[in-house]
Each structure stands twice: as structure tokens, then as C-alpha cells.
Point group: C2
Amino acid sequence: MRRDIFQAIADPTRRAIITLIALQAMTPNAIADNFNTTRQAVSKHLRILTECELVKQEQQGREIYYSLEIEKMKEIDKWLNQFRKIWEARFNQLDKVLSTMKKQKK
Amino acid sequence: MRRDIFQAIADPTRRAIITLIALQAMTPNAIADNFNTTRQAVSKHLRILTECELVKQEQQGREIYYSLEIEKMKEIDKWLNQFRKIWEARFNQLDKVLSTMKKQKK
DNA sequence: ATTTTGAGAAACCAATTAGTTGCACATATA
DNA sequence: TATATGTGCAACTAATTGGTTTCTCAAAAT
């Protein structure tokens, strides 16, 4: 069962977890407190996020702190890049149209 | 059945379709030729992509041309923005300062 | 006018998913 | 030492998913 980053962020709960631990590491229990679900369900999400290396863990006594592997998020950004080129090209075209309109106005 | 853009791009075939029609509109049959699957399966993917407004269609005789709604892709970029701030901060080596502060907090 | 082609919709199926409950195990705390 | 707490894992379930096959309909081609 190959885990994929796009599949990982497809679930709204997982996206919320990602946002939650982006700035500070948290334990599964602390994370679960923020959702209307059980700790075990959160644990499963964390496992999926860990499998695709979006999240790293740090054991501290009997607690495990989970935090975001921010570098991995860049992969989405990288995929988006091909489309960014397109929408920037469109914007430049619009820019040309607008400047042409301005010239005609004069 | 609420359609969500993140769920839409979770499937690898759908991501490939998006890339395929990003630059030029294509018919379902033409799209299906590029994959090892039936036209009907592609048709289902296109329905999902249409439902979340990632794709628009243009009828031309009995053919239907599908093309990417590039503006919608910006929503992913918008969501990524919160993390972009973090990785840019990390680039400025601010992360070391922050993690030191967190440890002292404990 | 008949046949071919392009396409969506419905019914069905196997696989996967997100969630639950119950368990085991290690680490704190009394 | 006995108990409470934090966690992961396995088994199970209901819902969803991606795919196929079959059907219908409309537009082109013969």
C-alpha cells in the first residue's frame, strides 16, 4: 500500500492535523482533543502521514511528539509549478490586453 | 456527496488528466487514449473534476471538449501559502531560534 | 435511412477508507 | 508494588472509491 502525499492531504481531518502541528509538535492525545473523534482515529491518520514522510515523531518518555516535515510540503508546491507557469502566462496576456486598452483610451 | 479539490487531485489518473488538458482542450476519447483504462472510467473522473469546478466543458457537435479551469488550481496554492511562510522562515534559519524557544517553554 | 461514432448514466463489483472497539505494552505516579 | 496514563496495533464495520459492463441518446457518416 504505497502512500502518496496527495492522498494524504485529501482527507480534511489530516489537513487540519497538518495545520495544527505545523508550528509546534503535539502528542496524539493533544491533537485528538481538537477533533470530534477518538485518539485511535487520529493515531491512524498520523501513521498515514508518517508513512509518506509528511510528519516526524519524537519520543519523550511515554509521550510521542509529532511535528510537520515542512520540506515534504514543497512537493505539492513543486507539482503546482507547472500550472503556476500557465496562470502567470495568462496574467501577462491580460496585462497586455489592459495596456492596449489604455493606449486606445488615449 | 460534496466534492473537494483536494480529493479531486488525490487520484493519480485525475492528476494526469489535469496535466493533459492544462494546455489544450480534449475530448473524453482522446484523453482515454492516453491511459490504460476505458472511456467510461475517464468520463467518471471528468465528472468529479467538473463537480468541483476544476474542469470546464465545451460542446462541439457530438464531441465535448474538456479543459482545465486554471483559476481553481490557485486554491491549492492558497492553502499552501500558510506553509510557504514557514519554510521561508526556515530558510532564514529562524527555525533554530523558534525550536530553542519551544524547548525553554517546556 | 441505416450504421457508426462520441458521450453520459445506471447497475454492479472488488478494493480501499475512515472510523470504532478492544487489546497489549511501556512509562509515569500513588 | 499497584494503578493510572499515553500510545500503537489488530479486528471489525459501514461507507466510499475506481473500475467495468450495459444501456440509451444524439450527431455524423455511409
